[in-house]
């Protein structure tokens, strides 16, 4: 059982430095803005589209493309929860205060969920509102909250982003620095964007099975995989990363 004190201490650390306190609301703002931008651009495309194109039009998927950027920011939030300690030199002070390393890692994971989840909810919901309302205003096809696809996006979308924050947290533990962890996290999450220029055997992996893509495509209704497989790939991957972080953190000098 992890003391609530350790968790409160993590919140004090999180809330007393600029990077985390700026990144959290900035992620939400960026999400809202991207919803508006993609909504606008897509509405423009829709206006000049053929009848067949209009039939195939996926307003939710098109309007929520900004999630690929927001996921990077929210993963960085997870990174910072660890790496700000390495950067500031406080990891040793924190470990001298919490000797059981598993407890410190668990508290950081807990804080990651407690901060990334509300940020993810706000980001996804705001992006949904700005993108679909911009599409509607542009006279394009759009989706309204009652539809199952929208519910899935609004409920599962934030969970996927929160899982990616835990992925960032794991990288922070494994790479012990903001710059390397953010770089690796960003590269990993955005690599699938280059799927079209990748060799064939990589193509399938990147477009369908890459952990963040698998889950995000299920969420936006564009995945060839069944839902459980898409979520399962991400959940398994994040669990493995957290496990690696736990082993690494527990067995290395601070």
């Amino acid at each position: 059982m992890i003391g609530t004190g350790v968790l409160r201490a993590e919140w004090t650390k999180f809330s007393s430095i600029r990077a985390t306190m700026v990144l959290a609301p900035a992620s939400v703002a960026v999400a809202g803005m991207l919803g508006w931008l993609f909504g606008n651009a897509t509405a423009g495309d829709y206006a000049v589209a053929t009848a067949q194109e209009r039939l195939d039009f996926q307003p939710l998927e098109m309007g929520m493309r900004g999630l690929y950027i927001v996921q990077v920011l929210i993963a960085a939030l997870g990174v910072l929860i660890v790496s700000s300690e390495h950067g500031g030199g406080t990891m040793r002070a924190s470990l001298a205060a919490v000797g059981r390393r598993g407890h410190l890692l668990a508290a950081k994971a807990g804080l990651t969920v407690m901060t990334a989840l509300p940020v993810s909810v706000a980001s996804v919901w705001l992006m949904y509102v700005t993108s679909q309302s911009t599409l509607a205003a542009g006279g394009a096809s759009h989706m309204t909250p009652g539809e199952p696809a929208v519910l899935r996006m609004l409920l599962a979308g934030p969970l996927v982003l929160t899982a990616l924050a835990l992925f960032g947290l794991s990288l922070g533990f494994l790479l012990r620095g903001t710059a390397p962890a953010v770089n690796v996290s960003t590269a990993f999450l955005l690599l699938p964007l280059f799927a079209t220029i990748a060799p064939d055997f990589m193509n399938g992996l990147l477009e369908v099975y890459w952990p963040n893509v698998a889950a995000l495509q299920v969420v936006s209704g564009a995945s060839p995989l069944p839902a459980w497989a898409g979520y399962g790939l991400l959940a398994g991957f994040v669990a493995a990363m957290l496990g690696a972080a736990f082993v690494h953190f527990g067995n290395h000098d601070a």
Binding site: V6, R8, T12, K13, E85, G88, S94, R100
Partner: protein, 299 residues
């Protein structure tokens, strides 16, 4: 009480701490002394669970650090005073440490006061001078009112007033019955604060004793007498070790000055001079660690 039991640490091929067995007792200031690179900090990091021993163990009151449920209430430490997030205020730094060990927030104000930092509690640590950081480090070490305190080079970079403050504080902590381990590479500093010394070099234990023993083992008595040769033989018969100096001088070890004087009186030997020459701690330390200095000047 801190116990090191055959504590060993290797970083790659380098042996930083080599089979160190030491007991640091309560109620005393134990000076942990050695040249730079001797393994003092590595040892302290292992006591605090930051580095994992290659073999052997370090325990605090019988338990390794990672088994302590609230470590700050058992062992307070300052290893690197600058290790504070530059954007975090002194108050928030201490607050998070206190929260992690369920120490009431009121204690934060107490230690800030004790360290003379009450006025700058709301300032970001990034703007602190070395002296202020050092005081913040001490405040953090005392947060949990711990029975064991470990300080790595606490007077480094302090102004004279700060040095005096830390000395008084350290003496006070030991007087309250706490176990105090203070490292330094300066023997002169230890001479005024420590009761007991643990000297290491190249990771190995060189000496461990009360501070007085370090000077006594090396002390000599200077004798000047016109009957140097005869008195020298008489001294050696009584078990002293004698080295002839210039002219009528004798350097006597293994016998105290009063005993040399009494012997001379009993034998009717006139003495022109009888002086106890106490080796300074500094010299004793240099002598002890001469073979283990990593980067010494050529001799």
């Amino acid at each position: 009480m801190i116990q090191l039991n055959a504590l060993t640490k290797r970083y790659g091929d380098v042996v930083a701490v080599d089979d160190l067995t030491v007991t640091v007792r309560p109620g005393l200031v134990t000076g942990f002394l050695g040249p730079n690179g001797a393994g003092k900090t590595a040892t302290m990091r292992m006591i605090l669970g930051l580095d994992l021993p290659t073999s052997g163990s370090a325990t605090i009151d019988g338990r390794p650090h990672h088994e302590l449920p609230s470590p700050l209430r058992v062992i307070g430490s300052m290893l690197d005073a600058q290790a504070v997030h530059p954007q975090r205020t002194a108050y928030k730094h201490l607050l998070y440490l206190a929260q992690s060990n369920s120490i009431p927030a009121g204690r934060v104000a107490e230690v800030l006061d004790l360290a003379g930092l009450a006025d700058v509690a709301g300032r970001k640590a990034g703007g602190f001078s070395l002296g202020m950081s050092q005081r913040l480090g001490i405040a953090a070490a005392l947060l949990g009112d711990p029975p064991v305190v470990v300080l790595d080079e606490p007077v480094n970079g302090l102004d004279p007033e700060g040095v005096r403050w830390i000395r008084t504080l350290i003496r006070g902590l030991a007087a309250e019955g706490r176990t105090v381990l203070v490292s330094s590479h300066l023997m002169s500093e230890m001479a005024v604060t420590a009761d007991r010394l643990v000297v290491i070099g190249k990771g190995r234990l060189i000496a461990e004793a009360e501070i007085g023993e370090f000077t006594e083992t090396g002390s000599t008595v200077l004798v000047r007498t016109p009957e140097a040769a005869a008195f020298s033989r008489r001294l050696e018969l009584s078990g002293a070790h004698v080295q002839a100096g210039d002219d009528d001088e004798l350097l006597v070890t293994g016998m105290t000055a009063p005993d040399v004087g009494r012997l001379a009186a009993a034998e009717g030997v006139p003495l022109f001079e009888l002086t106890q020459r106490r080796v300074s701690l500094e010299d004793a330390f240099m002598e002890l660690t001469r073979d283990s200095v990593e980067y010494g000047a050529a001799r």
